[in-house]
């Protein structure tokens, strides 16, 4: 079959990338580091197995969603291994769990159309998860968006995001007149309010982008988009006046250089790092990405640009574009409105996250600490992204 040959070709190139990069990582250590090679092989086996399962049991679905997700995660794991080997091993565990969640969702979830009616369940879950960190959260790197629970720590707003999209999809799916938009609008505003209170501005921006994208797809009216953009500008101005952390971010964005030793240290180091790498990078192990703080998390994009080159940075953007394209394609082919809205929501979530963080580390927009989906180190983010992709895979199956 023609498409199987193409998929195999793509996968083989990915295996090659994985093995070459991990071989490179193995030889740059003072003594030959065989564990790097083992990790490379393990990642290849995992990717092959996941593709086999999807191919064998669910041939109707879109196979490229999983392949692109695997390519992006393997780029991420190469860089994380270079920066901190123990984190890379943890990341592989999260990668396995993510793929397991992906396959479980595809296997266990019956038709999505049925879930369109649990609108208020989603509403309650959204507010629960999003509000949670405001009351019992702990501060990490300046934003109060982590919850510790018996030694486990996670970001509830990430789970909230999934429910938020499900809620919007089910409430916008039978849109007829303006009145039906009032309730979702209130929920969106409450969500954004909580995010600003938790000082999690990046998530607020993402929630807003998702809401506008879904609103536009549901109503097909540009005037609502203009109105919500106007509201956003007003909201942004009000929070600029009210909150000092918002003012600080904007101040750094406008001119980071005077404060490069303290407030804008992170973003200035990130820009140095990207500039030092240049077009083709310094080569793995030859740069100084450890100077950039939180380099395996939010600033992984600048670490990748430094050691693997801006060309790989562009490649990551292209791969994300292709991934989002495949997801949007699932939305176009979806048979019912709820699945379509859900697919639009999840794919715009991934797109928004990429644009916000890549824009942030290059100081194009005010920097807000969020993860680069699939590439960054982080269990919650990995799991959430794979769950969203699982739902998208399921939707792509239904397109007939």
């Amino acid at each position: 079959m023609e498409s199987l040959k193409d998929e195999k070709k793509l996968l083989r190139a990915t295996y090659l990338f994985c093995l070459v990069s991990f071989f490179n990582l193995a030889v740059i250590k003072p003594t030959f580091d065989s564990s790097a090679l083992i990790i490379g092989v393990v990642i290849c086996v995992l990717m092959g197995y996941a593709h086999f399962v999807v191919r064998r049991f669910f041939p109707d679905g879109d196979k490229y969603i999983l392949i692109f997700a695997c390519i992006l995660s393997s780029i991420g794991m190469v860089m994380i291994y270079r920066l901190s080997a123990p984190s890379a091993i943890k990341q592989i565990i999260w990668f396995v769990l993510g793929i397991a969640a992906f396959i479980l969702i595809v296997v266990l979830l019956p038709e999505l159309k049925r879930y369109g009616k649990y609108r208020y369940v989603y509403l309650v879950c959204t507010l629960l998860f999003i509000g949670m960190a405001t009351f019992i959260g702990t501060s990490v790197n300046g934003s109060q968006n982590w919850v510790r629970f018996h030694g486990l720590s996670f970001q509830p707003s990430e789970f909230g995001k999934l429910f938020f999209i499900a809620y919007l999809a089910s409430s916008l799916k039978d849109y007829k007149n303006f009145k039906q938009l009032i309730e979702p609008a209130c929920v969106v505003m409450a969500t954004l309010g909580f995010m600003v209170l938790q000082k999690d501005l990046g998530s607020a921006l993402i929630f807003f982008t998702i809401a506008v994208a879904m609103l536009y797809i549901a109503t097909e009216k540009a005037k609502y988009v203009i109105v919500s953009l106007a509201l956003f500008v007003i909201g942004a101005m009000v929070s600029y006046k009210l909150f000092s952390h918002v003012r600080l971010r904007v101040m750094i964005w406008q001119n980071p250089w005077p404060y490069k030793a303290n407030q804008s240290y992170q973003v200035v180091q990130s820009m140095y790092s990207i500039a030092w790498g240049g077009l083709s990078g310094t080569g793995l192990g030859l740069g100084f990405p450890n100077i950039v703080p939180v380099n395996i998390d939010d600033f992984i994009f600048s670490a990748i640009c430094e050691e693997m080159g801006a060309l790989i940075g562009f490649a990551i953007m292209i791969l994300f574009f292709l991934l989002v394209y495949r997801c949007m394609r699932a939305a176009i082919l979806a048979e019912d409105k709820f699945s379509r809205m859900l697919a639009v929501g999840y794919s715009s979530m991934i797109a928004a996250q990429v644009l916000v963080i890549v824009g942030g580390v290059t100081n194009m927009i005010p920097l807000t600490g969020i993860t680069l989906p699939l590439v960054s180190y982080g269990g919650t983010s990995m799991l959430i992204t794979f769950m969203a992709l699982g739902v998208l895979q399921k939707i792509s199956e239904g397109g007939r």
Binding site: S3, D6, F17, V27, F57, S280, G283, L286, A315
Partner: protein, 158 residues
Amino acid sequence: MSSNIYLAGISLSGLGQLSTVFKFIIIGIIYVIIFFALKIMYKDLKNGDKKQVRSQKQKTFGLEVVDAGISKTLKIGSVVPINGEVTIGRREDNVVVIEEGYVSGHHARIYQKNNNYVLEDLKSTNGTVLNGERIDNKVYIRSGDELKIGTTLFKVIG
């Protein structure tokens, strides 16, 4: 002592050489991946949103008419092959037309999903009966199942 330092210097510079070569290989591979991916997307767009052609290995199913009931349109023993989607009902636009009062306009459909065939009752008035039980919305069908629509009895063969 000095030889040790000398060795460290060699290995360090050798190392640098390796990574500077590897980085171009890695960039090359990534762009090959993107090239393949774009080629696939191009093919996909050229085909429009037609479903991919199914492989020949997959099993094909058919519906054999066991009892034609009171309708005159079907003959006992005739076989309807299931390719993609088969709709059953009283109206003319169905694939299988059964002209009798107990059958709804658009009564049921059978379609393929992930190597399996699914029978869906399209909210018909008198229901669709599979192996003696009235089905609720959708069920998977297997070879040998008996399907009753109105007074017509089909057997799934494959």
